[in-house]
């Protein structure tokens, strides 16, 4: 029965796709891609461990907005705030969209600017090969809002995207573009649940010598579901750095597709996910694909998951080194700390290398709290729960280290400590 039902769901979903104004040709091409590939089923290789049903369903599973007294994570940071309320840009809550060296437009205004037209959907389309990413194509076709950011200099402060969630049935689809011109630099912050079900895509074009920093916090809402994708292209001497902290949510799939196209480029993607199945189901999936297509590229994937009470963590990470991408340095580590026997971590590290002079390594581990270290701490007077929290923090430290600026590391640490304090025992 479920096969028939699923087909029906997928068909309904596809039939309902409507193309908003602006970027018409790009949206139509994306819809064609989507119809050709179809929505994923459990048999799809990259969806074996994460059930796509809730992402496919015509309507989202309702999610009660969640409120707590935790201050907003980036509240203390001097930033340019852009707020989306259930996926709709909220001008009143946002700052004035102007900053020197940065141009910010709104997708829903359907601006007719050539840089955006040539970028919109382009990196997503490139990233559809060899692995299909149907929810990304769906996003390009039907995204209703988002920001288009073009950076020509060094941005004076971070752009902070804040996604608030108020409606139980909101189903936002946001598409952002970030185009960094030669030598430009910007930090993009993201936080908030956004809706009951959130499909978000960001295309990041890093030109020669440009630097992109991304720090994202997913959480605060226990019931929300999210499928997100980042597609980036990194040119010569460019830098792409992305870190994600995920602490709540029923279901999260974060894809990151990185294409290193210029020599001496750097790409780092890291994540820390903390899941407690007690506050609801928790399933977190990081799926990464890094293509080295140029010489002397360096890439790092550092993913840590702390799981308890039946939480599930997934990591699928691939490094592809193309012919001629000599002196590539690719590093990948995915680790989980299981705080009980009910939780589960599954990892699929992949290396595919077609150049002979490269250095690539990957490792994956699953373990429990180190009992000897725990006893050592307790023997010094640290109570068991506090000692456990300290060991958890030390476990995720490597991922947090991937964040360059201390003020963001500190913000993340504060959030982590808060989570640990709330999820003891």
């Amino acid at each position: 029965m479920s096969a028939v039902e699923k087909m029906t769901n997928a068909e309904t979903r596809l039939a309902r796709v409507s193309l908003p104004d602006g970027f018409g040709p790009q949206r139509r091409a994306a819809l064609d891609r989507l119809n050709a590939m179809g929505l994923p089923g459990r048999r799809d290789e990259y969806w074996r461990w994460t059930n796509p049903t809730d992402f496919i369903a015509p309507d989202p599973v309702p999610a009660a907005p969640f409120s707590d007294d935790e201050p907003e994570i980036f509240g203390e940071i001097d930033r340019l705030k852009i707020v989306f309320r259930d996926g709709v840009f909220d001008a009143e809550a946002s700052d004035d969209l102007s900053m020197s060296g940065v141009e910010i437009l709104r997708l829903a205004d359907a601006p007719d600017v050539s840089w955006a037209s040539s970028l919109y959907g382009t990196l997503e389309a490139n990233g559809q090969d060899p692995v299909k990413r149907p929810f990304a194509a769906l996003n390009t076709a039907s995204a209703t809002d988002g920001v288009l950011i073009r950076v020509t200099g060094v941005a004076e402060k971070p752009v902070s995207l804040i996604y608030t969630h108020e409606s139980e049935t909101s189903d936002p689809i946001l598409h952002h573009l970030v185009k960094l011109e030669e030598g430009a630099e910007i930090t993009v912050l993201e936080n908030g649940p956004a809706g009951a079900r959130f499909n978000k895509l960001m295309e990041v074009d890093v030109a020669k010598g440009a630097k992109f920093h991304h720090i994202r916090v997913q959480g605060r809402d226990h019931e929300r579901r999210a499928v997100t994708s980042i597609f980036t292209r990194v040119a010569e001497e460019g830098l792409f750095k992305s870190f994600t902290l995920t602490s709540n949510g029923v279901l999260t799939r974060n894809e990151c597709v990185i294409d290193i196209v210029g020599d001496d480029a750097n790409a780092h993607v890291a994540g820390a996910a903390l899941g407690d199945g007690k506050t609801g189901k928790f399933h977190h999936d990081d799926t990464v694909f890094i293509t080295h297509g140029a010489e002397r590229g360096e890439s790092r994937q550092v993913f840590k998951k702390v799981l308890k009470n039946g939480a599930e963590g997934i990591f699928q990470g691939k490094i592809l080194v193309k012919p001629g991408a000599q002196k590539t340095d690719g590093y990948q580590i995915s680790q989980s700390l299981l705080l009980d026997e009910n939780s589960q971590f599954l990892a699929k590290p992949e290396l595919e290398i077609y150049a002979d002079d490269v250095q690539c390594s990957h490792g994956s581990t699953t373990g429990a709290i180190d009992e000897t270290a725990l006893f050592y701490l307790r023997s010094r007077g640290v109570p068991e729960e506090e000692a456990t929290a300290l060991l958890v923090l030390s476990f995720v430290a490597d991922a947090i280290e991937e964040i360059e600026e201390e003020r963001f590391r500190d913000a993340i640490l504060t959030r982590l400590e808060g989570w640990l304090a709330r999820h003891r025992g």
Partner: protein
């Protein structure tokens, strides 16, 4: 201070009796030494006293002043004033030494109803103690014991002891792996802490350490029991003649010691 009566301990996982009736009393302000052949149960005794998992007490009791040690969590024992300098100090990657020390000190203060130490006072305290043990600032910044040499790890144990100021200090072979100068530093660190209200139980294989830390009482442990107790001269005798005569006197074959 420390009172151990008829302590019997077996391994939790297998049916192996390790301590077979240990009796030991350490008075306030005194230094007691324990010597004994490898495998006689010295480390086991120190672990059981500090509350490590994996052991089952089948008989006997152990008190630190009014605290029933065997009925307390490891952190409660620490708060009551017990400290074990480990024979094999543990590495904790990802936890900075300073964080570790501050967390431990504040946890103990909290358990005793005292206020947390201020960041400034803490820094001053650690710097002062570290300097006298010749522990450099770099070691303090690194993760706990990670990449420390054997001797550095032992000095780090003494640093923790100096900062936590416990009442009952158990030193499990703190001298092994130390060079001559480090041994002197460690001994000075211990002697600086000697006090009316503080006692030491020093586990060692060598008279050398006892030259620096003069014990009041020396015990010989073999086959899970204290078989002989005496003054400092007992250590000198062992140093000279080994354990053979003592073991024979108590009917313990060398193999099973």
């Amino acid at each position: 201070m420390l009172d151990i009566k008829n302590l019997h301990v077996k391994l939790e996982e297998e049916d192996k009796q390790i301590l077979k009736g240990v009796n030991l009393s350490v008075e306030s302000g005194k230094v007691h030494a324990i010597m004994g052949p490898n495998g006689s149960g010295k480390s086991t005794l120190s672990y059981v006293l500090s509350g490590r998992d994996g052991y089952e007490v089948t008989e006997g009791e152990a008190h630190l002043n009014d605290t029933d040690l065997l009925d307390s969590e490891p952190e409660e024992r620490a708060a009551a004033g017990l400290f074990l300098a480990f024979q094999y100090p543990v590495e904790i990657p990802g936890v900075g030494n300073m964080t570790f020390l501050r967390t431990a000190l504040n946890a103990q203060r909290k358990a005793r109803g005292e206020e947390e130490i201020s960041a400034g006072d803490f820094l001053k305290l650690v710097r002062g103690k570290a300097k006298s043990l010749k522990i450099d600032a770099d070691m303090l910044k690194r993760p706990v014991n990670v990449g420390f040499s054997g001797g550095e790890k032992k000095r780090n144990e003494i640093l923790q002891m100096a900062i936590l100021e416990p009442k009952m200090c158990i030193l499990d072979e703190t001298d092994s792996g130390l060079d001559v100068d480090a041994m002197r530093l460690v001994a000075e660190g211990v002697n600086a802490l000697r006090d009316e209200g503080r006692s030491f139980l020093v586990i060692t294989h060598y008279q050398r350490l006892l030259d620096h830390i003069k014990p009041d009482v020396v015990h010989i442990m073999a086959d899970g029991r204290i078989i002989e107790t005496g003054g400092p001269e007992l250590a000198l005798e062992v140093e000279k003649n080994g354990y053979a005569d003592l073991l024979a006197k108590h009917g313990i074959s060398e193999v099973m010691a």
